[in-house]
Symmetry: C2
Subunit: 394 residues, 2 copies
Amino acid sequence: MNYNFSKGMSSLKPSVIREILKNSGDTIPLSAGNPAPDAFPVDDMREIAAKILAENPVLALQYGVTEGYKPLIEELTALAKNRYGAGGENDALIVVSGAQQTMSLMSQVFINYGDAVITEEPAFIGALNCFRGFGAKLVGVPIEKDGMDIDILEEKLRTTENAKFIYTIPNFQNPAGITTSLEKRKKIYELAKKYSVVILEDNPYGDLRVSGEPVPAIKSFDTDGLVVYNGSFSKIIAPGMRVGFTVAPKEIISKMTVAKQTQDVHTTMLTQLMVYNWLKAGKLEGHVEKIRSIYSRKLNLMCDNMDELLLPYLDYHRPEGGLFVWAKLKEGIDMLEFVKRASANGVSAVPGNAFLTDMSQKCDYIRLNFSTPGDEGIVEGIRLLAKTAREMKG
Amino acid sequence: MNYNFSKGMSSLKPSVIREILKNSGDTIPLSAGNPAPDAFPVDDMREIAAKILAENPVLALQYGVTEGYKPLIEELTALAKNRYGAGGENDALIVVSGAQQTMSLMSQVFINYGDAVITEEPAFIGALNCFRGFGAKLVGVPIEKDGMDIDILEEKLRTTENAKFIYTIPNFQNPAGITTSLEKRKKIYELAKKYSVVILEDNPYGDLRVSGEPVPAIKSFDTDGLVVYNGSFSKIIAPGMRVGFTVAPKEIISKMTVAKQTQDVHTTMLTQLMVYNWLKAGKLEGHVEKIRSIYSRKLNLMCDNMDELLLPYLDYHRPEGGLFVWAKLKEGIDMLEFVKRASANGVSAVPGNAFLTDMSQKCDYIRLNFSTPGDEGIVEGIRLLAKTAREMKG
C-alpha cells in the first residue's frame, strides 16, 4: 500500500542528531545533549515517589485535568513570576509533557500549512522540525554574539507574510551558546509588538548560568499579551519525567489546553506530583546551586582544553552557561569531513548545518556538549578533535 | 492583541463532556468515563516504582528514545501479537503517551487541512476533536447493533475525496457500547483495501469483556499493511500513567516516530518502566480477571436497575463489556431538557449529540457510565434518572 502522508510530514526526516548518535557507536559523545546523570536529585525523587504512592496512589494513577494538577499549577505560577519574571494577571499557566510539547501545541494552535515562523538561526532542531512538520516556512534571522541581528529581524518581519511567531532561546542558546542582551530583548519585544507577532520564548537552560549576570526574561516586559514563556525541568530536575510548563496570555493557554486534550489528555500524574512535592519541599534553590557547580566545572574543563589544543583550528566564545559550545572551524577544514573523521577517531560532534533552516546550506560550525560525557571523556574528546584537525591540516 | 489562530483550532471548542463535568458539581457522575479506582493495581505499582528508583534511577530519569524503552517494546510486541492478534513481520510498535496520542500522531502524519476522516457515528469525542483540530472533515457512518452500516460505509468511501482513514472502536464502542461482528470487521477490512484507505482500530476496552465471546481484531486480518492498532493501559492498569502502544506497518510507525519526537520526545520513562516491570512479572492476566469481575458487577447493577426503573422511558442494549451504556429516550422526552433536569435532580449524563460529527444535529441518546460511581451511586443515579423521566412524562 502507498500511504498518502500529510504534506508537512512527507518532507520531514528524523532528527539528524539522532541519526548521528545512532551511528556514533562507542565514540565519546560530544554530540549529545543529555543532562549529567549526577545532576539528578535521585534520592529526593525516590523518597517522594514512595510517599506519593503510599499516601495518595489513586491521585497518581487516575486521570487528571488537562491544564495540570492544580496545586502544581499554583506552585509553578508563583515560581514563574518570582524566579523568572514570567506571568501577570492576564496570563495563565499550563503543565506540559516536557517543554517540547509547547512547540507542538504552539504549532497546532497557530500554524496553517504555509504560514511562517521566524527563528534564530542556527536554532534548536527539535523546535525547527516541529514547525516543519506542521508545514511552516522557516525564516531564519542570523545570531550575533548578543542575540539576533535586529535589522534583519525587522526586515523579515516586514517582508514575511503570515508570520505567526518569533522563536528564541534567549539564555545560552542551543546550539550557539550565546545569551541575548537586555537591549536586544527589548528590541525584539518592540518589533513583535509593531508587527503583531507572538514571541515564543524558550528557556530550558536559564538556570544553568555559571558566570555573568542574569538577564530579565522577554516575558517580564509583556504588557501587551505577546509572549509565550516556555519553562522546562529537564535540565534542572530530570528529562525522563517529561514535565514542563508554559506561561502565556489566557486566550492562548485556553487554545493550547484544547490542543493538549487532543494530544495526550494530560501530563503523567505521578511525575507531576513528584515535581510538585519536590518544589513544595523547597529543594529547587539548593539543587540548582549544586548542578551549577557541576556544569561550571564541566564547561570550564572543556573550554580550557579547547583553548590549549584547538585554537589553531577553530574559533569559539566561552558561553556563560547552558550545555553547549558552538565552534567555527577555520578555513581549510571542511566541516562535514571533520565530523566524519572525528567519529572515525572516536569522538562525535554535531555538524552545524543540522541547526539551520535549510540544512543543505554550507556551514563551518560544529556543536560540542559537555554535560553528557564524564570529565575524562571531555578531556579525551577534545584531544581527539585536535588530533583530527591536525590530520586534516597536515 | 488579536491572535491569529490556525484554521483547525479556531473552530474547536473544549470537550462538551468536560464542560458538563465542570458544571455537574456534586451530582452523581454517570457522565464520567474514569476507570474505577479500586481496579488500579496500587500495591504492585508502589512496589515496582520503589524497586526501579532504588535499582535503576538514572534510567527512569534520563532521556529515552522516542520509540519507547526497548525491553518494553519487545514485551508489548509479544503481547500485542499473542493476546490481541495484532502485528506481523511488516509491522512495528511505538510506545505512546496514552492512546489519545495515537489520534494526534495519526492526524499529524496523515491529515492535510480539508482531508476527510471516516468515522463511526456516534464516536469517541476525544478522537473526533483531535481530527477536527487538524482541520479534518468528519464523515460519519451510522452504527448498528453489530457495527457500522456497511452499505453507507461503502457509499462514503466511494464518494468522499481525500479520505485518509476509517476510525473505529470495534469492542464496546464509546459511546454506543456495541461490538462489531466478525463478519463486519472482515467487510470493513475489504472495503478499506478496495478504496486504499487506512483503518485506525482503537481498542481501549477490549479486555473489559464481561459476557459473550471475544472477536478477533481487524488488525489480525491485516496482510496488506492497512491497519493501525491502538492499544491502551488506561482501563486495565491506570490512566494517569499515560502509557499506551500502537502497532502499525513499519512505514507508518516511522512517520509517527518523527511526529512523536516533535510532540513530547518520548513517553515518561518512570511509567514506561513501571508498565514493563508489571507485565514482565506476569501480573496482567490475574489483574484483568479481577477488574472484569468489578466491571461485570457494576455493569449488571446499572442495567438491572435500568430494566427495573427506566424501560418505560428509554431503550438500550445491555453491552457485553466496556464502560458505557447508550440509551435512547422514548418519544416525548426531549434529550437536552432531560439531561438538564437530571443534573438539577442530582445525576449527570452526557447528551448524545456530543458524540456526533455535527453536534448541532438532533439526538435522542444519552451516555451513561458505570465505572466511576460506586455501587450506591449507580443505584441512586438510575433512581434519579427515573424520577426525572417521570417528572417529564407527567
